[in-house]
């Protein structure tokens, strides 16, 4: 019936799925240790850490650091790493706690300038 498959594998390389399961990347955590990473939060790399810090980082951490030399949003990072957003958030939480990245939170709705300020800006621009 399926004797032919004894000879070779059914799923090769990427078809076999990720070698490391997502929960293992985060050691089972689903929430970042610190910070609240919205999908549009921008992340940028901070100063490089000490040697021991770097040595204990996972490859994913290192990839994130390398990636966010230019600011990137969390969603971008997740899509580039092809990982779940939740996992990326946990990883970023680790990096943030270690001080290896900085985040720029998008302003919340109530932080947005109100209409008058916007109107003044428009007027000012038109007058340029």
């Amino acid at each position: 019936m399926r004797k032919a498959f004894d000879a070779h594998h059914e799923w090769l390389d990427a078809d076999a799925g990720p070698v490391v399961r997502p929960y293992a990347l985060t050691a089972g955590r689903v929430q970042p240790v610190t910070g609240d990473f919205d999908v549009v939060t921008l992340v940028v790399a901070g100063p490089p850490g000490s040697r021991e810090q770097t040595a204990r980082l996972y490859p994913e951490h290192r990839a994130i650091i390398a990636m966010v030399q230019q600011p990137l949003s969390v969603a971008e990072i997740a899509s580039r790493l092809d990982l779940a957003v939740g996992v990326v958030r946990v990883l970023l939480g680790d990096l943030l706690a270690a001080g290896l990245v900085h985040i720029y939170e998008p302003p919340t709705a109530d932080e947005l300038p109100d209409e008058n300020v916007l109107q003044a800006v428009v007027d000012g621009l038109r007058s340029l």
């Binding site: 498959f5 997502p22 293992a24 050691a27 689903v30 490859p59 030399q69 957003v85």
Partner: protein
């Protein structure tokens, strides 16, 4: 006497020796019986030669001497020939004495013969005195007769004793001969009396009566003897009695009987008597001698026959014994040889061929029962039947082994089919989980993680089943996988993954074909470590690259193992025994040993300084590729299916510059697929990178090195932009120009699309591109 344990040869010898002994005894008895008469005949022959002939000769000469002595005593002065006769008699006596001296009475069973020999010799001693008396005429007739008659009687008694020897087949004839001789002696005595009477002219007192007695005696004895005489003697005697001289003698006898009287003159003529008597007597003597010879011949032939019979019996007996022995020995040898041969074949079947068939069945070959069972042909007797019985047993054993193997194979096939089905379902489940996890909120993510964990463990156990059954699990890798991922992959497959810490892991990659087995092996060891240590302790895993390979160490903080337990486990790991389902406790150990043996990986345990156990897994250098780079590749590379040597993927990065994430030249995307590379040295930002020779990729094709052929001025620097550079790039003026270019280009594009899609204005597109690239370059 327990004969059970004797060898077959001894048993056959015992079986044969009893009747053989009996046969031998019978043979000896028969031989003795047959030889007896032969020997006795020989003795008789000896006797005949020793005593009878000289005895007969002695008697004859004595009879002659008696007659001459009687004549002399009757009155003549000189009797012619008496001296010669005495000389002849003396010769006969001397001969007889010689033979009697040589004769050994012990050879003859009868003591009478010896006694009578002595008696005769004794009577002979008186002869010399008697002769002197006769010469001096001092002897009376009666005394003369007594003298000679006495000796002659003793002689006849000796002959009679010899003739009467028991067991002598010719004794009746010999007896007859003796009677014949006695009869002839009676006739001689009558003649002597008549001779005396003739001389004196008349019978002396009592002589006529004596004469009558002698005549009567021989008239009785001759017919009696005649009956038992040998055939030729009988014929000759018959002839004699029909002859003329015998008739004349008879007539004279009649006249004597009728007309004779006491103290009267004999009524017959001496001359006639003399003539008739001499003739008949001579013939009688011849007949007697002839009969003796004939008897001797007969005895000889009987002796010969008897001896021949004895010899035949002897030879037949010896032959019979020899044949019996030979047959017994040959049969014993043949039996033993057949039995030994049968035993050798049976031992070969049991010790060599059956185990060989079982091994082959276990290895998966099919075995033809008929071909494996030779027919043991050892004849049709019990041994042959035994051989057939062995064959039958062997056949049955092979058949059951084949049935067992078939059943086991069927079972294995079933198990494998189920395992593969299970594996396929789990794969689909995990793929779906991957997708769901992408988009999940944290709370959902927690549950999904649990599901993922459970499904992964199920997949691990299904793969265990496949590995144990000798099949390949569904997942495989053709490209090397980094060791850090292999280790973390193993950790993710166990129950208590959260208790495992990963310490430093030296950079290296594991070649594709070993990835599945090593993950499985490490998962087994790490799970075992978590199970033997308390729940609050952590298990640590680290990887180090050495000259002899890559070593992964799994350390637990449990209570440790004894020295002997550690040694036992190490021994088992070094030499994995055959998997025995009965010992399922050792399942994990078996899996580890099996997998490590397959790739020549060394797994050893040792006690750790803190009291736990360290399991060291040494991967040989041919499985490991050492990375010289500092970083591990971006996970993105793992998820792209590489169908050939992958070109570096320049990912679109939006309004920014393409990132140059690592100091080294080629993008990390390539790292996952490389087997060998010449890494470009990290160059400082102000120096152009030296051109690097195109390294060979996974498919042997040259791999493009990023920015290698680009003009130095256009190349990106490797370093991440500093804060000043960032500030420059992000100046409002720049942002403004970028945004306006974007807006203009978009508006243009919309216009041209609205005008007509069929006539794409290449110039417009080119303009837009040029604008974009101009503004890009100025950044």
């Amino acid at each position: 006497m327990n004969t059970r344990n004797w060898s077959i040869r001894s048993k056959i010898v015992a079986m044969v020796s009893v009747p053989l002994a009996g046969l031998l005894a019978l043979w000896m008895v028969a031989l003795a019986l047959a030889a007896g008469p032969a020997l006795r005949l020989r003795d008789a022959r000896t006797l005949v030669d020793a005593l009878v002939r000289p005895g007969e000769r002695l008697i004859a000469e004595l009879q002659n001497e008696r007659r001459l002595a009687a004549v002399y005593l009757a009155g003549s002065d000189v009797v012619a020939g008496i001296a010669e006769q005495r000389a002849r008699t003396d010769e006969a006596i001397a001969a007889f004495r010689r033979h009697a001296a040589d004769f050994d009475p012990g050879e003859v069973a009868d003591p009478r013969v010896a006694a009578r020999v002595d008696q005769l010799l004794t009577t002979l001693d008186g002869l010399a005195a008697g002769r002197e008396a006769i010469d001096g005429r001092r002897l009376e007739w009666t005394a003369l007769f007594e003298l000679y008659n006495g000796i002659i009687d003793a002689g006849f008694q000796l002959l009679a004793a010899i003739a009467a020897l028991p067991g002598d087949p010719v004794s009746r004839e010999a007896q007859a001969l003796v009677d014949f001789g006695v009869a002839t002696e009676m006739l001689g005595r009558a003649d002597a009396l008549l001779g005396a009477a003739f001389h004196t002219g008349r019978f002396g007192p009592g002589e006529y009566r004596e004469l009558l007695g002698h005549v009567g005696a021989y008239r009785v004895l001759y017919p009696r003897a005649f009956a038992d005489l040998p055939d030729s003697a009988r014929a000759r005697y018959q002839q004699l009695t029909e002859g003329a001289e015998f008739g004349r003698l008879r007539a004279l006898e009649e006249t004597l009987l009728v007309d004779g009287a006491e103290t009267a003159a004999p009524p017959i003529d001496p001359g006639e008597w003399r003539a008739a008597y001499d003739a008949v007597r001579e013939q009688l003597r011849q007949i007697a001698l002839g009969a003796v010879d004939e008897l001797g011949d007969q005895g000889r032939s009987v002796a010969r026959r008897s001896l021949f019979f004895t010899a035949v019996v002897g030879l037949v007996g010896v032959a019979a014994v020899a044949v019996a022995l030979v047959i017994a020995v040959r049969m014993a040898r043949s039996l033993v040889r057949r039995l030994t041969g049968l035993r050798a074949v049976a031992l070969d079947l049991a010790g060599t061929r059956l185990p060989d068939v079982v091994d082959r069945l276990r290895a998966g070959e099919t075995v033809d029962v008929r071909a494996e069972t030779p027919s043991l042909d050892y004849g049709t007797d019990e041994i042959g039947q035994l051989g057939h019985a062995f064959s039958a047993v062997h056949r049955t054993a092979i058949r059951s082994a084949v049935q067992e193997a078939t059943a086991r194979r069927g079972w294995r096939e079933t198990v494998l089919a189920l395992a593969r089905r299970s594996q396929s379902l789990l794969h689909r489940q995990l793929t779906l989980l991957d997708t769901m996890e992408r988009k999940a909120a944290p709370e959902e993510l927690r549950n999904l993680f649990t599901l993922d964990h459970l499904a992964t463990q199920m997949r691990r156990h299904t793969e265990s089943l496949l590995i144990l059954s000798g099949a390949k699990p569904g997942r495989g890798w053709s490209r090397p996988v980094p060791m850090i991922d292999v280790i973390r992959g193993a950790i993710s497959e166990i129950e208590h993954y959260a208790r495992v810490d990963v310490d430093t892991v030296d950079n290296a990659s594991l070649i594709g074909r070993a990835v599945g087995d090593v993950i499985h092996l490490l998962a087994e060891l790490i799970e075992n470590a978590t199970l033997v240590s308390p729940a609050e302790t952590r298990v640590r895993v680290r990887g180090s690259l050495g000259d002899d390979g890559y070593t992964v160490e799994v350390e637990d903080r449990g209570f440790g193992m004894t020295r002997s337990a550690i040694d036992e486990v190490n021994q088992l790991l070094a030499a994995p025994p055959e998997f025995d389902p009965a010992h399922s406790v050792r399942l994990g150990l078996f899996v580890v040993a099996h997998l490590s043996a397959r790739h020549r990986i060394q797994v050893t345990l040792r006690s750790s300084a803190e009291g736990g156990v360290i399991a060291a897994v040494r991967l040989p250098t041919d499985l490991v590729i050492a990375d010289s780079s500092a970083d591990a590749p971006a996970p993105a590379a793992e998820h792209r299916p590489p169908t050939r040597a992958s070109l570096p993927t320049r990912r679109p990065t939006g309004p920014g510059r393409p990132p140059a994430p690592t100091p080294d030249a080629p993008a990390p995307a390539e790292r996952a697929g490389d087997e060998s590379r010449t890494a470009a040295p990290s160059a400082p930002t102000d120096q152009p990178r030296p051109p690097v020779a195109a390294p060979a990729g996974a498919g042997g094709l040259p791999r493009r090195v990023r920015q290698q052929s680009l003009a130095p001025q256009l190349r990106d620097s490797g370093e991440p932009p500093s804060a000043e550079q960032l500030a420059v790039r992000r100046s409002p003026q720049r942002v403004r120009s970028v945004m306006s270019a974007l807006q203009a280009g978009a508006a243009r594009g919309r216009q041209s699309a609205a005008v007509g899609a069929s006539t794409p204005s290449g110039s417009d597109a080119g303009e837009a591109d040029r604008d974009a690239t101009d503004s890009e370059r100025s950044l």
